[in-house]
Amino acid sequence: MATVASLRDHGVPTRDIAVVVRDLDNYEEPLYRASVHYGLTPVFWVQLRVTQTRPFALIESVCDVLASDNPSREILCRPLEHRWAPPSATSSEWPIDPKTIQVSMQALPDESRTLSEWHDGFEGNPEIDERFVTYAEWLGDCPEPAPEAVTNVLTDVVETYEELGLPVTKENDSPSLIETERDARGTVRVKTLVQQLRHKYADRLDEGTLDRSWSSVAELSQLIATQRPGRREHSNARAIDILEANDIWLLNVPYVLAVGLIDGEWPQQTESVVPPELQEAILRGDGSVGTLAPRTAWTTGRDRDQFDDTLRAAGNGLIVTRHTESTSGEERRPSPLLDHLDTDLVPPDERRQLMSEERELPNSVRAMLKHEVTDSE
């Protein structure tokens, strides 16, 4: 990301830069942190991990409390921590601020109790914020987990979150609204999920594959959340695009940074249930199996194609990065995809300079910029 920051320093527009990774699973978090370090807002063109968003944590924690006969202090208070608010709430009172919740939690016994015992314990206890009583009453009023009732309860929860919880995120966020955008995407996704939940839950109850309980609801939410793709649109015009290689197809971006060209990472072998001997026979098209269509997923061909797409997408320059050893000092070999690529190696001192406080683009990257000027002349 130091290179991206330097390209930006040299006036390269945001949309003229793209960072490409074969698989963002392990790269999203480090690239996110590195971007923020260099003062760049990143956007990752991958599905939102909705289960790691607050609105999801909120509905899940509500299900957990309702599923438990004797919730512990932590389980009980978790929805409040995730900014639960009663459907009729106003923004001046709700959600309860974290410190108040934690101080009240500290005053609660570290044990498991029934909801009504918790409720009785809250009432008239001066050490517990009185809004805890409202919360306990709401829990007590929650219906049995019939499909429609579940949807209504959770819809109320998430809509109230949209109304009162999300603005808190915005309030605490940096001007780039990274967290807010994530939270908003999570909210939209969870609202859809709650609607899907109603039908799926009803179906599963009919099939007899789930029992009627709030813990089933939580379990099913997890399942739906991890299966269904969310919206992938990103809203910030100033954010740097970070994509997976299968999304670079047909794009044309002047400066492409391909990250993680390590043997075993890119290309990567995909698992298949078809035995390798049969795969090979099908790919070769020998005999009757030849009628079956070839599958690039069985070879590393798809990864190669995507790397070719990455090369083609780069208008002015392709910058390839790889690490040479793991944290524990084991050697990491370069990707075989680099074997046939004519690259200029950035010398160690230029790399150090790039990473230093006095950041400077390596000469070979700087040459790409000059190349562009010459072209445009």
Binding site: L40, E81, E162, P175, E181, A184, Q269, T300, G329
Partner: protein, 1158 residues
């Protein structure tokens, strides 16, 4: 790739020829270090695959398994086989090479990259486990080899045992007998070790019990002592000779009785505790068996054990047909098995592997018994020994067995080989040193293939030591004067400066300094840095690092940040630098906010407390996100990488690397689980208590370092140009079995006697320093008569065997095997050198020479160093003389680091989160452009949520005849809008529209049904009436309708996109025009439709005007046509209006520019 290919020679070639001569059989190669063991295994793997391909197998990589013990070596097997294959074909090294084209080679290389059975033994067995996991009670493939999760699992098993009321008394007795100590295994650790041992040896608890009993019986060979003379007999039994009993003359009868009584008690207590231990272990194993399945977590040993037990039918209740199928699949697949470092294979790995191989396979094993240094990790070198000697391996007595020994080393120069031979032959074949253990040592001797050089290759860094123990800091790096480390550093640095350790291009040679233990690395590093040498050292524990500790402290605090106790701990115990605020905290009841508000704080304190307060407020996000992620949050919020206030006394690059390593470790340990701060704290606790069990700190030196520090174990398998042996003066008995409570080595297991038996400490029992038994004192060669020792028999009784250690037979064997392995370790260390071997040696010894107890004395003897030589001297050997240089570098030469380092930005500047540029919309829509640009802050959330952006509007008048029961005003608007556009799209004729004919009603109903299914007839009819009267009538009367009627072409809902670039920020506008009407004149009418239920406000009007203008702007961008374009927003419903805009189209850019430049 070099143009000069490696050609197999001598024994390498012989064994390869034998291997390919047959279709099955066992082929073993015993190699001296540097004999090209890996080259042979790579060659055989590559040629085997090539031959199979040439013979017509299109997927030959499926038949060849190539495995190694060491993970980093295993990772390079595939690339190395690929390289070798290319080399074989390029240089036509074997007959099959000429039968493949270049493209076929590339095809084969692609295939080899997918080879399923290449890697570590563990990885192959993991593959097998994945096939059988569900068959043996796992829900899915378990997590394998995750140290932290395994620790957690064992902790859970131990808790279960503690809570078992039937075992409570036994556990309590065991805990009393074996209390937790800093360097001692406690009961839980011993149970953990016992499970692994039993699984590795495939033994029942009963057999394990008898194994422990045998050790007791051996220690009390004469049985329970009945008199003091029995105790004396035990001493003689341990020494193996008559001893001078006059040493006991001073012990009076009372004392003799006390000793005898105590010894009897110890005997009884010991057996009782072993009984307790095995009873508890039996339950522990049952719990463990179930818990690994419940939690889906297993160790590598478990994997091998389960694979073996599955095929051996010891697990019960498995599907026979499936098992037969799986066995058959592996046995038909693996037709060639190539094992590198075969001496390191453990008993259970060997057992598991044996199920995958049949006598029709070809097995090649390469190894070196003299490099067997993993006894402590349950390596079983005798398996390879039996393979080489008897042709038995993997449970098969092979009909065809070929064995070769490769003595030629291609690694070191002749003088280094001679020096190694001089030191090692004597040491390894000596029955008091290398040949002390069970392994039958034959020293083949190194024969160097490389040519001699005209310089010294063996160097002694000679120094005059201060009178002290050769393993002490005073010896290694005294406060005054030059010790061992400084002398070695001097020789290396001056050698770099004067060209002794540079190549023909004056480039520095690679230098590795090898250590037996990492404990002296710190002072060595200090000495080396003082001499201007940059050191790469990756041997320090990650969890020893202060900044890493802080992250974990904060995680722990976040479990309950309002808890005053936790706040107190964080302030007083952690390295956050808050301790000076203790009084303030006490005054303010440990409330961070109160301190922030009410105290005059330094910037550093303000920063830390502000960060903590922020983290506390975000605690909830830590409950739903991975630990690695929230650890990053902590690091970022407290700016730990940059450490702007200098809180941590640690090199900036190391600080950053350690924090990165922490995050990576947490990610790895957590795998797919999410640990809350409380769960994480529990997971990490054992590693914080014993940091050596966790990962090491990563090295921050890049390729430019001068010297690398490694432990010998870590360097096994590697080589370097210059190798120095550091700290050779440690005592070999240090950390020996006498210092261990629980011994599990090969077939011997032993649990030390309990520590809480009352034994008189005031009565000596010569020659045991610690009398009968005193386990507290592990610094000596013994902890008393009744456990293992590090004494030599002839030190106690002159007549005794000088090659035997004192102790009962079984414990003596354990000690002897450990000792013998240490000598092999020295051999491994010495044989890492290519061009130069360097050892620091004292000119004089503080005491008499003890070659059987120290490397130092053995090396000194081997190199004939008397202390008086200077410059260089010659050592004569049977194979010719070689030279040794003593401090043979130019004294005036000075080595200065040539590279200047500057810290990375990340180590200097905190993350720039607050400096991130403000959000600017990337995608906009003409219809929402007005509200979004007018008040972005108020509209951004709705924009992000994809909600409608509302402008200030009037309330729906009461006289609007609509019910809004199921459809609210917004729904009504979008419904009627859709009905109208659909009617136009379907080209419904005017008379049908005017008469509200059936088709109109059908379209209306369809659209309404799409929006809601619950609307009742009254609401539906009311809405239809409203549509007919207030919308459709006006629509048919409008100019727009007139244009539609006359049009050449009408496009409904046409997307119109454009791009606005402000400075270098691109904003996309994506609109959909309801109607684009192309008239015969060429003129176009672009119209957007609004259904209004209220009277317009000035705001809504402006909104519509900007929308119209935006469409103009987009059309101007898109179309070069000269024909005029008419743009309107048409409102129907409560208010009928046609809005055209007089605004210039660049107002769009101006409004967006204001957003960008705000």
């Amino acid at each position: 790739m070099s143009d000069d290919p490696i050609r197999l020679q001598n024994a390498q070639r012989d064994i390869r020829d034998a291997y390919f001569e047959h279709d099955s059989g066992l082929y073993t190669l015993n190699c001296v270090p540097g004999a090209g063991k890996s080259e042979v295994t790579d060659h055989i793997s590559a040629e085997d695959i090539l031959r199979r391909y040439v013979a017509g197998d299109p997927t030959p990589e499926q038949r060849v398994a190539a495995i190694s013990f060491n993970r980093s070596e295993a990772e390079s097997i595939i690339p190395d086989i690929c390289d070798r294959l290319r080399e074989i074909v390029k240089h036509d090294l074997v007959p099959a090479a000429s039968k493949v084209s270049d493209s076929e080679v590339e095809y084969l290389i692609q295939r080899i990259r997918q080879a399923p059975f290449v890697g570590t033994i563990d990885s192959i067995l993991r593959d097998v486990l994945s096939e059988i996991a569900s068959d043996i009670g796992f829900e899915e493939m378990p997590v394998v080899g995750n140290t932290a999760r395994q620790k957690q699992l064992h902790a859970a098993c131990y808790r279960a045992i503690q809570e078992d009321s039937d075992l409570a008394q036994r556990v309590e007795r065991l805990e009393d007998a074996y209390p937790t100590g800093e360097y001692d295994d406690d009961v839980s650790e011993m149970l953990e070790t016992a499970v692994t041992y039993c699984r590795d040896r495939r033994i029942s608890t009963e057999r394990f019990h008898s194994n422990l009993e045998q050790t007791v019986e051996d220690v009390y060979a004469q049985g329970r002592p009945g008199s003091f003379s029995d105790v004396v007999a035990a001493v003689e039994h341990c020494v193996g000779a008559d001893i001078d009993e006059s040493a006991y003359d001073d012990i009076g009868d009372d004392e003799r009785n006390r000793i005898c009584d105590a010894d009897s008690r110890l005997h009884d207590d010991w057996r009782a505790r072993i009984n307790d231990f095995c009873t508890v272990l039996e339950e522990y194993r049952i719990t463990y068996r179930q818990t690994i399945r419940d939690r889906g977590v297993v160790s590598h040993t478990d994997v091998a054990y389960l694979v073996d037990a599955y095929f051996d039918d010891r697990l019960g209740n498995v599907d026979d047909a499936h098992r037969t199928r799986i066995r058959h699949r592996y046995q038909t697949r693996i037709q060639s098995l190539i094992i590198d470092e075969a001496q390191d294979v453990s008993s259970i790995q060997h057992a598991a592997l044996s199920h995958l191989v049949t006598p029709s396979a070809r097995v090649f094993g390469a190894g070196d018994l003299l490099q067997s240094v993993y006894l402590w990790r349950h390596a079983e070198p005798t398996l390879f020994e039996t393979a080489t000697d008897d042709g038995e391996y993997l449970g098969i007595d092979w009909d065809i067995h070929e064995h070769r020994t490769a003595k030629t080393t291609y690694r070191c120069v002749p003088d280094v080989a001679s020096a190694i031979n001089e030191i090692s032959e004597a040491a390894l074949t000596d029955p008091a040193r290398g040949n002390l253990g069970a392994l039958d040592v034959r020293y083949p001797g190194l024969e160097a293939d490389r040519g001699s050089t005209d310089e010294s290759n063996v160097h002694i860094a000679a120094f005059d030591p201060r009178a002290s123990d050769p393993d002490s800091y005073t010896w290694v790096k005294p406060v005054e004067g030059r010790g061992e480390a400084t002398t070695l550093a001097t020789l290396l640095s001056k050698g770099l400066a004067d060209g002794s350790f540079t190549d023909e291009n004056d480039d520095s040679l690679g230098i590795t300094v090898l250590f037996r233990w990492s404990s002296k690395m710190d002072v060595y590093e200090e000495a080396f840095e003082e001499m201007g040498l940059s050191v790469r050292n990756a041997s320090e524990d990650l969890f020893e690092c202060s900044v890493v500790d802080v992250v974990l402290d904060v995680c722990e605090w976040l479990v309950a940040p309002a808890d005053p106790e936790r706040n107190r701990d964080l302030v007083i115990e952690s390295n956050l630098g808050l301790e000076p605020l203790t009084n303030n905290f006490e005054t303010h009841h440990w409330d961070i906010d109160a301190i922030l508000d009410g105290c005059d704080l330094t910037d550093a304190h303000q920063h830390v407390l502000g960060g903590l307060s922020e983290l506390r407020d975000r605690r909830d996000s830590f409950l739903s996100r991975p630990a690695g992620t929230y650890a990053q949050d902590i690091i970022e919020t407290l700016a730990l990488r940059a450490d702007p206030y200098g809180c941590f006394d640690i090199d900036p690059a190391q600080r950053v690397a350690n924090l990165d390593a922490l995050v990576e470790t947490l990610d790895e340990w957590e795998a797919d689980e999410h640990f809350t701060p409380s769960e994480l704290t529990e997971l990490i606790e054992p590693f914080r208590e014993n940091p050596y069990m966790g990962p090491n700190q990563p090295s921050t030196a890049d390729t430019s370092h001068d010297v690398e520090f490694r432990t010998v174990h870590d360097a096994k398998g590697d080589q370097d140009d210059v190798v120095a042996i550091a700290n050779p003066g440690f005592d070999l008995w240090k950390h020996g079995p006498q210092a261990q409570r629980f011994l599990t080595q090969g077939s011997i297991a032993g649990l030390a006697p309990p520590t809480n038996t009352d034994i008189p400490s005031d009565v000596a029992l010569p020659a045991f320093v610690n009398g009968l038994y005193d386990p507290e004192d592990t610094r000596d060669r013994d902890v008393g008569l009744r456990w293992a020792t590090g004494h030599w028999c002839d030190d106690i009784a002159e007549s005794a065997d000088s090659t035997s250690l004192v102790g009962p037979e079984r414990l003596r064997r354990v000690a002897a095997n450990e000792r013998a392995e240490t000598w092999r370790l020295l051999y491994v260390a010495l044989t890492r050198a290519r061009d130069h071997l360097v050892v620091p040696l004292p000119r004089s010894l503080p005491d008499e020479s003890r070659p059987r107890d120290r490397w130092l004395d053995t090396i000194r003897e081997g190199l004939n160093f008397t202390g008086s030589q200077t410059g260089s001297y010659t050592v004569d050997t049977d194979t010719g003389p070689f030279d040794i240089g003593v401090n043979d570098v130019a004294l005036q030469a000075t080595w200065a680091e040539t590279t200047t380092t500057c810290d990375d930005d990340v180590a200097v500047n905190p993350p720039r989160r607050t400096d991130l540029d403000p959000w600017v919309p990337r995608f906009t829509n003409p219809s929402t452009l007005y509200p979004l640009t007018d008040d972005p802050d108020a509209q951004v959330l709705d924009h992000l949520l994809g909600n409608a952006l509302h402008t200030e509007a009037n309330d729906v008048p009461d006289d609007v005849p609509l019910q809004f029961d199921q459809l609210g005003p917004d729904d009504v608007g979008s419904c009627l809008h859709e009905v109208l556009t659909t009617l136009v799209e379907r080209e419904v004729p005017e008379h049908t529209l005017r008469s509200l004919g059936d088709e109109v009603r059908r379209v209306f109903d369809d659209v309404v049904d799409d929006h809601t299914t619950r609307i009742d007839d009254d609401e539906r009819d009311g809405l239809f009436t409203f549509f007919g009267e207030e919308v459709l009538d006006d629509f048919v009367a409008s100019d727009l309708w007139g244009d539609i009627q006359r049009a050449e072409r009408v496009t409904v809902e046409r997307p119109i996109d454009g791009l606005v670039t402000i400075d270098d920020v691109e904003i996309e506008i994506h609109g959909t025009s309801d109607f684009v009407v192309k008239l015969p004149s060429g003129e176009q009418h672009v119209a957007d439709l609004k259904i209004t239920l209220t009277d317009q406000t000035s705001e809504t009007r402006r909104r519509y005007e900007l929308q119209v203008t935006a469409y103009s702007y987009l059309f101007e961008q898109q179309e070069s046509s000269e024909s005029p374009v008419k743009r309107t927003v048409e409102t129907f419903g409560v208010e009928r209006d046609t809005i055209e805009s007089s605004w210039p189209s660049n107002i769009v850019e101006r409004r967006l520019a204001a957003l960008v430049r705000q």
